[in-house]
């Protein structure tokens, strides 16, 4: 019954590796997002997908590439991981574009790069 799920919940990896985080929502929403939360709890939008189309790319390094195979999934692939990528990554979804205040967030994936 989980609305927005993410896997894995924890991810520990070394610098230079490539990793992916998966996100799935079963709410029938047509818009999905990726947020990054740093160690100071600051949440920042990274990407937004609406009906499989990228809407936002907030100056995220191109090492990060979102992939949406269908509107229920939005995966985040990260190449050549760096120490500064360590953070908690949250997936979210909402119905409709525009005033998408009702965003449902997943439980987060804590990425630690060593």
């Amino acid at each position: 019954d989980t609305a927005v799920s993410q896997t894995p919940k924890y991810l520990v990896t070394q610098m230079g590796n490539d990793k992916s985080i998966k996100c799935e929502q079963n709410l029938g929403h047509d818009t999905m997002y990726w947020y990054k939360q740093d160690s100071k709890k600051f949440l920042k939008i990274m990407f937004s997908y609406n009906n499989k189309e990228l809407i936002i790319n907030e100056t995220v390094p191109n090492r990060f590439s979102p992939k949406s195979p269908d509107k229920a999934h939005l995966n985040l692939h990260i190449n050549s991981l760096e120490l500064g990528d360590s953070a908690v990554y949250f997936c979210a979804s909402s119905q409709g574009a525009g005033l998408a205040g009702w965003q449902y967030f997943g439980p987060g994936t804590r990425l630690t790069v060593t």
Partner: protein, 115 residues
């Protein structure tokens, strides 16, 4: 740049007391504001929202007040309970139509409920 920010990083209140969490925003074009609650180890959870054409909105034990003159937003929690302990974020949507806008979050306030 424009931002949404909170005045205090930590707020400690006695159980049963009311708490007020404040937020200042700078984007005059913002017309939709949301409060989220984030418990430890979990994702943000929607609490309450308010549009710019309103000054006040009430939910269950929560009230959001919006003062557009001074660009100030507050969240009032009545009769706080241990389960209210969390980090609270205010967020805004900078535009009111078109596109799947991501939320702009302010810095969180950690609300601690003392027994």
């Amino acid at each position: 740049g424009e931002s949404v920010g909170l005045h205090l990083p930590t707020l400690s209140v006695q159980e049963g007391d009311n708490s007020i969490i404040n937020c200042a925003y700078s984007n005059s074009a913002s017309d939709y504001f949301i409060w989220y609650k984030q418990e430890s180890g979990k994702g943000p959870q929607f609490i309450i929202d308010i549009r710019s054409n309103m000054d006040k909105r009430q939910g269950q034990r929560v009230t959001v007040l919006l003062n557009k003159t001074v660009k100030h937003l507050s969240l009032q929690i009545a009769a706080t309970q241990p389960g209210d302990s969390a980090v609270y974020f205010c967020a805004d949507l900078p535009s009111s139509g078109g596109g799947a806008d991501g939320l702009t979050f302010g810095k969180g306030t950690h609300l601690i409920i003392q027994p």
